[in-house]
Amino acid sequence: MRDRPLVAWFAVGCAGIAILPWYALADSIFSSGWLVRGFTGENAPLWWQAWAHGRAWLWPVAALLVACIAWPPRAGGSRRRQANALIVFAAAGFVFTLGQGFAIGPRGWSVDAAAAWFGPITTGQPGMGTGAAMALASFAMLFSLGLARRGAFKGDGFVAGSVVSVTLAVALFTFFPVVRILASAFEDTAGAWSAGAFAQRAFTGKIWGLGCLGGGTRCGVAWNTLALALACATACTALGLAFALIVTRSAFRYKRALRVLSVLPIITPPFVIGLGLILLFGRSGLVNQFLELAFGVVPTRWIYGFQGVLLAQVFAFTPIAFLVLIGVVEGVSPTMEEAAQTLRADRWATFTTVSLPLMRPGLANAFLISFIESIADFGNPIVLGGNFGVLSTEVFFSVVGAQLDQGRAATLGLILLGFALAAFFLQRRALGRRVYTALSGKGDAGLPTPLPDAARRACYAVALPWAALTIVIYAMALAGGFVETWGRDYTPTLRHYVKAFGVEWGAHGLLWTGAAWNSFWTTVRLSAIAAPLTAALGILAAWLITRQRFVGRSAFEFGTMLSFAIPGTVIGVSYILAFNVPPLEITGTAIILVVCNVFRNMPVGVRAGMASMSQIDASLDEASGTLGARGWTTLRTILLPLLRPAIVAALVYSFVRAMTTLSAVIFLVSAEYEWATTYIINRVVNGDYGVAIAYSSVLIVLMVVVIALIGWLVGERRLGRRGAAAPGRGVGQLGGSAA
């Protein structure tokens, strides 16, 4: 039973247990430290750990790996029995490797039986390292190859390996953290399971209080969150619809400008709007200063609180609702509207009885996405919330504040997750079994009906001032970086830019003296690492979902999409809970930042991939298959070239999203690996607006350049090809479905 993939993966496993450090290193595997330090401490590979450091429980790992390749040939002639042996040993190896890691807690064995077998130990063991990771990967792949040999996945090893590895990755980085957050919420301070502890934390006045209704001071943060999200989603959906109708159904002249406006929130760090609002409406904002000067109105702090956060969120998320809705509005078949007209419906009746109901899925989707964006939003509430707390900020203060109460953070996170999942569920229910897309393939080409006059006027009246205000706010946010102190001293200066991005020539060449460089380069580097991983994983998963048939495919699809419904704050907390202790100890490293971004943005890659793959006729794959190509070859030679625009869109999107994300990474950054957005938010919280604004502006400009550059590159490519999705549109749609 020799073939190349099998041998190769066996070799990977051998390298993992024989050469590379089994445990996680204090420094990186890419620094050469472990090579020169010899077999001391965690630098040693598995066999040395087992032999010299008294970790006898590691021996079975090696034994099982060897058994994978040595046993099956002896399992007798039948290929099926050989495959069975391989499956059993590989699975056992994987389970055992993980199991031994989890069986050892910080104070020794957490499983009593193990102590009896391997003798008692008093300390924990370090987190798993490169060697362990390679061994696990090897076991997983050998297991997949075994499955393929048994005829699963039509005997295609590549498909089997892909399904298994994507499943494991999703299990590890999406399901496991969610399970951990669930467990933590139900743990009391001693670490024991207790429903009482959960109830105690979850049902307090601070969360569910209704004081504000009875004239009291405050309501609970859960009600705050819900009220904010509902108001925000309603407003965003209405505004988004108004914009979409203007762009598709009216003779409005600046449609392109509106579309450009819609891209802004994707490339903007989430709190920039909040900043702009402060500069405009804050105590020393322009409007207040003008009012004071002209009419003697005493400035108030009205912008801080529910109304301010709502305003900022509606500004920030309306464009996303717009992007969702425009596709739907464009998709309403003009023939439907013409049919209504020939049935005596005037324009208004046509609009209300046919056009609007056909847009219902889009409206529900826009509402859902704005809702989730709102409950997950961290930046605007922290900048503008004042005394108005919401779940996401509350979660944050539970973890990093003086309270340091992870159980409480987990509980709050769970409530947040509950809201998000409930919203998803309700959306499904609201749409029901009805179909909203036209049925027959062969159609008549009609003309989109212009809006009824009343509707058009309403759209203009609502949307245009709003668009103007958005522009003003952005302009304000950009201008704020070039003055001394907003509100007091409007002398033009580059001081803030120098402070953040200063560069000097020193004795040893270029010196990055600016305070922002560290976080800036970290962000760019890690985002650039995360983007291709996100795109690859997303496209691979999309390919498996759309093109392969296997048991549990819909569960697989659900798993890859799950993180879409999880607010970033919850992801952040759950990652801390899940990956803070051995055997999986990656908090504080760059890995966790990359992983977090990859798995948060992957659903969008999956969606984009699925959308474009469904436009490529499956007969192409089949043709390739009948010509002798297997899974990997077909994917590489047929689909990937056709999918190039989708891939580029996914790349751009994941890069940009990673660059501007805040709610999840704020939990995961460390002194060494700081993120641009967390750096900025810290400046804001300290009242250092100048640098924060300057930094945000740099990010926005950088994003614009990146998007323009890639759009230009892909645009050139597309000229000679037909039928691929327009890249600009792709990015737009991706943004639309992001939460």
């Binding site: 023939t335 013409e338 007209q341 005037d346 049925l439 062969k442």
Partner: protein, 354 residues
């Protein structure tokens, strides 16, 4: 509402530089089924949409029931339309679709449900009230579309290639049903198709269109037997086009010479000399070589069950013929004699200059 006439008076429709309908005038009598027939892109749909009020003409007047409706919107005209894609509202049940026109707008009808059910009964859809369009077969969807248009008892009912999304067997059945319905309710129907056989089967009158103008208008028989020009002759069924010489004999009949054959056919006012002729395939009889006016050789023979199709190479060119004589086919390469029946021959005026 009583069935109404439709009149087009110098109607033109332009889309920018594209002229979709050139100056057109015709009249559709009340209670008749008139077909617009022509190749794809000749402007049939545009004419239908002009009648419905979904497009307004660039010039000219449109009258329905004697009333000038040129500037009226679709909702204000007493016209209903069955769309090629049916355009059923996917978010409404069958019943909701059918009663839509009765419940919307200013003229709410109190017994809308009852009337909708009646219309559904007319098209044989009783009991499908609560189905969604997505749960119906193509033929059933088509019936819903018809019922939805019928329920308003429109003065004019329009069909745009209503059968093009159906399979061949259903197509024949549905066209008979539409014709039967039209005659029973004495509706004025304008029906668009590009299928000559379909047009001939259902129509009282046919308007043949070519490149944005009306090529000829008349009963199916007139168009088949007296096509105005070569385009109409070719579009109304298969025709062999050959050259011959015409010599007038009297007011009506002329003597036409095709190869060795001499036939008496109406000269249609054409001058003596060279003329174009259209010969229907079924008018060509293939028999023994001896004594036949035209000699030929079988070039192709295709057995189609009830008939055999031949292509015969002759001195006047290749002739396409169909024969009912399936029992004794002629082999390819055989030398045969060709006779032409005068009933299947028309002299064709040259195409009108454009």
């Amino acid at each position: 509402m009583a069935a109404a006439t439709i009149e087009f008076d110098g109607v033109v429709k332009r889309y920018g530089d594209v002229v979709a309908v050139r100056e057109t005038a015709f009249r559709v009598e009340a209670g008749t089924l008139t077909t617009l027939l022509g190749p794809s892109g000749c402007g049939k749909t545009t004419i239908l949409r002009l009648i419905a009020g979904l497009e307004l003409p660039s010039a000219g007047r449109i009258r329905i029931g004697g009333e000038d409706v040129t500037e009226r919107s679709a909702a204000e005209r007493d016209v209903s339309m069955v769309f090629q894609s049916y355009a059923l509202f996917p978010h409404m049940t069958v019943l909701e679709n059918v009663r839509y026109g009765l419940t919307v707008g200013r003229r709410r009808t109190p017994d809308a449900d009852a009337r909708a059910r009646e219309a559904m009964g007319t098209v044989g859809l009783t009991g499908y009230d609560e189905r969604l369009p997505s749960e119906l077969s193509g033929g059933q969807q088509q019936r819903v579309a018809v019922a939805r248009a019928l329920v308003l008892e429109p003065a004019v009912l329009l069909f745009d290639e209503p059968l093009s999304n159906l399979d061949a067997r259903l197509r024949r059945q549905m066209r008979e049903e539409i014709r039967e319905l039209q005659q029973r309710l004495a509706l004025t129907v304008v029906y668009v198709t590009h299928d000559q056989a379909e047009a001939m089967a259902v129509s009282d009158r046919i308007i043949v269109m070519n490149r944005a103008v009306v090529a000829q208008e008349g009963t199916p028989r007139e168009l088949y037997e007296r096509p105005r020009d070569a385009f109409v002759a070719g579009f109304m069924g298969d025709a062999n086009r050959v050259r011959g010489t015409l010599a007038r004999r009297d007011e009506e009949i002329g003597e036409v010479r095709i190869g060795g054959a001499t036939l008496a056919v109406p000269h249609r006012g054409l001058p003596d000399g060279e003329v174009d002729l259209a010969i229907r395939p079924e008018a060509i009889a293939i028999g023994a070589k001896d004594g036949a006016p035209i000699a030929g050789q079988v070039k192709k023979a295709a057995y189609l069950g009830g008939i055999v199709e031949y292509t015969i190479a002759t001195g006047v060119g290749d002739l396409f013929a169909v024969s009912l004589d399936v029992a004794r086919p002629h082999a390819v390469g055989a030398a045969v004699g060709v006779r032409i029946a005068p009933q299947g021959v028309v002299v064709v005026p040259p195409d009108a200059p454009r």
